[in-house]
């Protein structure tokens, strides 16, 4: 196993995912096999290659004129929210 249970617990915490007791051993095994599989990359002869983040060269972030293009539709968008009050998203108390 290239990953331990502690490793997977740490990754799950970073990813903000609760993992049940029943799921945990399955993830330890399957994530280990995926990590072993992608370790094949360590054998590649790379040299001085620039990392590639985007499939097309020469793309740049476009700018647009600074004019209003969207109207206020927060009620429509907030219709999908689990809890809304007075136009605000409701979450458990953060500050005591």
């Amino acid at each position: 196993m290239s990953l331990t249970r502690q490793d997977v617990e740490k990754i799950a915490h970073l990813a903000r995912l609760s993992i049940t007791e029943r799921e945990m051993p399955v993830y330890v095994t399957s994530l280990s096999s995926i990590v072993d599989f992608v370790d094949e990359l360590s054998r590649a002869q790379i040299g001085n290659v620039e990392p590639m983040a985007h499939p097309l060269d020469g793309q740049h972030q476009r700018l647009r004129p600074d004019v209003v293009s969207e109207t206020d539709e927060h009620e429509k968008y907030q219709a999908n929210a689990p809890a809304v009050q007075a136009g605000l998203y409701v979450v458990p108390r953060v500050i005591e």
């Binding site: 990754i11 915490h13 995912l17 399957s30 995926i34 990590v35 990359l41 990392p51 972030q61 219709a79």
Partner: protein, 484 residues
Amino acid sequence: MLHTLSIGELGRSLSSGEISSVELTRLFLARIERLNPALNALITLTAEQALLAAAAADRRRAAGEKGPLLGIPLIHKDIFCTDGVRTSCGSRMLDNFVAPYDATVVARLKAAGTVMLGKANMDEFAMGSSNETSFYGPVKNPWDTSKVPGGSSGGSAAAAAARLAAFTTGTDTGGSIRQPAALTGVTGVKPTYGRVSRYGMIAFASSLDQAGVFARSAADAAIVLQAMAGFDPRDSTSIDAPVPDYPAALREPLKGLKIGLLREFFDGLEARNASLIGDALKIYRGLGAETVEVSLPHLPLSVPTYYVVAPAECSSNLSRFDGVRFGYRCENPADLLDLYKRSRGEGFGAEVKRRIMTGTYVLSAGYFDAYYLKAQKVRRLITGDFRAAFEQVDLLIGPTTPTPAFAIGAKIDDPVTMYLNDIYTIGANLAGLPGLSLPCGFIEGLPMGLQLIGPHFSEAKLLNAAHLFQQATDWHSRSPRGYE
């Protein structure tokens, strides 16, 4: 037998007044009602809106409007946002999500006068190669309902194969159009990265995702792609370049076309699969094409490269699902952290969580250089291999998949084996290239696909090569039994 007609034939019947869009829509809705229960290809039916849209298309036609897609029924993959209609992405996380706007793909096809019949099942968040990871259950392959239809656009592929609509839409991040097209015997096109807008298409891996089409033939796909493709200022990576006339290019002769046979695709290829590809090459040589062997030495690294890059981008994209602004929220959260963790833990399925964790791992401190940066470098090497190959040849040809459709349940517990299904398709996504899969024969009664890959923006040539193959063969016109 209207469901067997091509988009061109349907358009002629509509414009001659022989049929109306409302009649055509009723016919496909009746097929869906009768045939979908055994397939689970559609997860949302929009019959009422469809009939209204069809009536509107009929009025537009009566007012003199023309257009090859006016009044033509389609099914959208449930990854595309559809204003006022549930858009689930195959996930419990979005089971209750009603999109507040249309994806650009949806808007463009709507403007062309198409009629949406419903939304197609898919692997959850497009992560899967068998359509078994959907919250709504697996899709069955119409050629054999004990087999998978492929994924992630499995519902779209099965619906196209079963003639539940004139065509369907899909998305392809590592093969999710081409692989299911091959396994269900339809024509599937994944355009160049940036050719079709990603706006309103729920993101999985943003540097790889691209929308495309499932159709009965390359000629039908050309008509649909014409309406889908083009610049969209709402997608920051959309390409601002003119779209060629795809249908007009279909009949260009292939004399002198140089087709590259990828050595890496043929090494170890199963004998029956190799023999189907060999038969296809004979057709192409008969059409005047030359075939040359080429090698892409880094291509064998494409699957491990993809399974670092795609999960990394997925872990970032799916961080937006926090149980606060939209989507699933857990019951009685103890605090904000508990709300995040349990909403995500309960809302996402097993494969999505696996990909998020893989991505989180390869991006985490201490592993970023060894995995993510390394994969990005190998991605450049693979892209360079393709570029060098296209200096010698016009198109690359090979199989779409290693095997025909496999049994439901056969690979779902072994992610690495499942990932290797995409071995022939992933390279095109890493390099942003267009690819097309078209039916080229059968193994044990199950359809197989021939894959064409071209340089950036060569969709017209791919469709042209596929169309002329389909003029010389009839594999694409075969229907699964019970769906004729």
